[in-house]
């Protein structure tokens, strides 16, 4: 046994995040840490690596009792960690983000060319070819996540901790990562893995520990538990399955055009494309990493300026100069990057939810406090945000709950076109079902939705139409009657539609 945590207690003001949790980890295993949003997974990891001090309990590492003073100490002892949010420095180059702290040096002097080569090698392990001298901030969140993984892989570690490393990745990258994990496991590495994707967990893990509300539910061998059983343990009750959702998808597509983009494009972002969106229609965007889905969405929202093409809304030409103009036309955009482009972490849940509505009203027409409370309460209930305290700072929420707050902000604006860029990132399986239902329901009420997700199944389940992108081109627009992931993948691979 390389790691043993016993009776871990961790309190935050007003919340008991961990309540007597035990956890063990053996060399050569992948151990999945499971639980709903806010169950305490990330906290356990941060306690382990010394980001937080414990309020009770013991940590034994490599046979010795330890109490790491911080991530640096944990790293030195051989614990390499990818934390849940991308925790890298956006101002530095990709190479530096991978190798900072372990730069190849001679007499204390950093060898830059060696560093670049080393970074490229590490990225190649994840099947990634990037210009490693580019600043990290120019990269999409998925790439950033991969860079963080590459960084963790480079450490000469005995324990690898991965907190939701796959939340933004699509199947190809996930497969790559799982392959790398298998190799490492074979080499005797102990891996702690957190993910809300049940199939990934079953594909890779040997053992699972389930947490619920900060308490230990139990430890199980993967071979001895079923997906349904696992989910039941996580949420404490049976989960209504998704299957019915696929049936309820109504024949809607009201044939009433809401938005028409003609030859819209932006240099360095996405090649000119044309797209029509009908009322009540869910348009899914499918494509690989960096295929330009986010870029496309940002153009529709006016977050970036198009340098080409036209947009018509209700058959009237509009110039989307800024998000404000888009919002005024009833467009909403929920960004994939909740930390830098979404939430104001210092503000409360209530304020973050009310922000977009308030912004469109302008500062002179404040939402009354009562209205704000109402909105917040309703959202907290609808999306099961925990803790259910509208006055909690968003910073203190767990990753999945933060994502729900961001989603809530846009859902309440009641837009005509809702663009969701990876809305279910980091959201647990129960809540994800709720959100998918919600999207279907909203579309049924006539809202148009553009849905982007790295999870192809999810896109297919929800969309009436799938727009396929590749290398920043729109290559196909497929009508979704029982499309399969394979068909989409084939379209992407061909690079040509029908």
């Amino acid at each position: 046994m390389i790691l043993r945590m016993t009776g871990i207690h961790k309190r935050f003001p007003g919340v008991i995040a961990l309540d007597g949790v035990d956890f063990r980890l053996f060399p050569g295993e992948v151990h999945a840490l499971m639980g709903e949003n806010g169950a305490g997974k990330s906290t356990l990891i941060k306690v382990l690596t010394g980001v937080y001090g414990v309020d009770g309990g013991e940590i034994e590492f490599g046979g010795e009792q330890v109490s790491f003073t911080g991530p640096a100490a944990a790293q030195r002892a051989g614990v390499s960690t990818v934390y849940q949010e991308v925790n890298l420095c956006p101002n530095l180059s990709i190479a530096e983000n991978i190798l900072l702290g372990r730069e190849p040096r001679r007499f204390g002097r950093i060898l830059w060319s060696k560093m670049r080569r080393r970074a490229e090698e590490l990225l190649a392990r994840l099947d990634l070819e990037l210009d490693v001298t580019a600043p990290l901030s120019t990269q999409s969140i998925a790439v950033q996540q991969l860079v963080a993984i590459a960084r963790a892989l480079d450490v000469d570690a005995r324990v690898l901790v991965l907190d939701e490393p796959t939340s933004s990745l699509d199947s190809h990258e996930v497969d790559r990562l799982l392959a790398v994990m298998r190799t490492l496991r074979a080499e005797g590495m102990a891996i702690l893995f957190v993910s809300h994707f049940i199939d990934q967990v079953f594909a890779i893990s040997d053992r699972m520990t389930v947490l619920r509300n900060g308490k230990l539910v139990g430890e199980y061998l993967t071979t001895q538990i079923t997906p349904v059983g696992l989910v039941t343990k996580m949420i404490g009750k049976e989960l209504a399955t998704l299957d019915e959702l696929e049936q309820v998808r109504p024949e809607r597509a009201g044939q009433q055009e809401l938005l028409r983009a003609g030859d819209l494009g932006r240099k360095g972002g996405i090649e000119p494309f044309s797209l029509e969106i009908q009322r009540g229609e869910v348009v899914g965007l499918a494509g690989l990493l960096g295929s330009g889905r986010t870029e496309l969405a940002r153009l529709l929202y006016g977050a970036d300026h198009a340098d080409n093409g036209t947009v018509h809304i209700d058959d009237k030409p509009v110039k989307l100069r800024s998000p404000r103009t888009a919002i005024a036309r009833g467009i909403a955009f929920c960004s994939e990057n909740r930390k830098t482009e979404g939430l104001v972490e210092d503000l409360t849940v209530r304020e973050n939810i009310a922000l977009a509505v308030q912004a469109s009203r302008g500062w002179t027409k404040p939402l009354s406090r009562k209205r704000q409370d109402e909105i917040a309460e309703r959202s907290i209930k609808a999306l099961d945000i925990r803790p259910a305290n509208p006055e909690a700072k968003v910073r203190d929420l767990s990753g999945g709950n933060q994502q729900k707050v961001l989603l809530a902000r846009w859902l309440i604006t009641n837009p005509r076109l809702l663009i969701l860029d990876e809305p279910t990132r980091g959201i647990d399986i129960g809540a994800k079902t709720e959100i998918q239902k919600l999207v279907t329901q909203l579309a049924g009420e006539g809202m148009a939705v553009v849905f982007i997700s790295a999870e192809l199944e999810e896109v297919l389940r929800l969309s009436d139409r799938v727009v396929v992108l590749r290398d920043r081109h729109v290559v196909a627009q497929l009508h979704n009657d029982s499309l399969t992931p394979e068909q989409i993948m084939a379209t992407i691979a061909d690079g040509a539609g029908e």
Binding site: G56, S322, G342, V344, A356, R361, W363
Partner: protein, 346 residues
Amino acid sequence: MTKHRLFWPVVALVLLLLGNFLFSPSFFSIELREGHLYGSLIDILRFGAPLILVALGMTLVIATGGIDLSVGSVVAISAAIACLQISQLGDQNSIGGIAGAVGIALGLSLALGAANGVLVAVLNIQPIVATLILMVAGRGLAQLITDGQIITINSQPYQAIGGGFVLTLPVSILIAVAVFLLSSLLVRRSALGMLLEAVGGNPEASRLAGVRSRRLIWLAYVVCGLFAGIAGLMISSNVSSADGNNAGLWIELDAILAVVIGGTALTGGRFSFTGTVIGALLIQTLSTTVYTLGIPPETTLLFKAVVVMAVCLVQSPAFRRKVITRRRKPKSASPVQQDEKVEVSA
């Protein structure tokens, strides 16, 4: 109670006042002299009033993640132009003329604030250099207006702004209180406060949420300019003269300090007007303490250094955690002995 974020600044203020009291027992006494209140506490409020005003404006700017170094110069310009106007009046006591002068001064302050705002919000110049420009040039402008001289005026109504009394209360305090209440009301009753905090907390997220961040940031500088202008009127009226070089000199530092002591972070986001007022009063009390205690000018700064440091340390949760209440060792929970589960072979 100790949780409240203004608890510790208030404690520091009270301690400082008590310190004064120990040294000079008449410190808290307030008497009625010639029909107005008279005493050390009143002095603190009276001389603190301009600082409070400037610091309130600064709070808004800092909330947006900016900083305004030019407030001192705006103080000087506002003072200079008002006094110049009044000195040119035939009758320096004519209310109309004074109102005109005050109007011109405040208008100019607004314009200067707006100019700062344009540099920051429209041209995206870093606030510290954007306002540095006016900080440097503004002093010159003020001296240009006064021709490098001190303009002395003799105007009873104007003098009332900074030195007068209404119903035994100093007018300057009333103005400061009014501005404080009005701006608190404005900021918290409208959505201004929340939107400013959003812009300061995460500008990009706010933009994507549809907040008119440019306009808000610009507005913050405009208000800051206006408040500095009012402070300038107060300062000049208090001594019935305008001193282009010295009026409001280094007030920006004191104002920023007041904001920071009041618990608003220089990185922007959450702000507190009440905290700022407490901070400003603390700074003014500190000066008064120096005079009351008779600390020689050579050691004044050492004294200030010690007090400022002490105030901040008391406020710092980390300090209280690490030094005042030594961290108790956590009781180690009895390890739950569990049956060994099946080992996984690698």
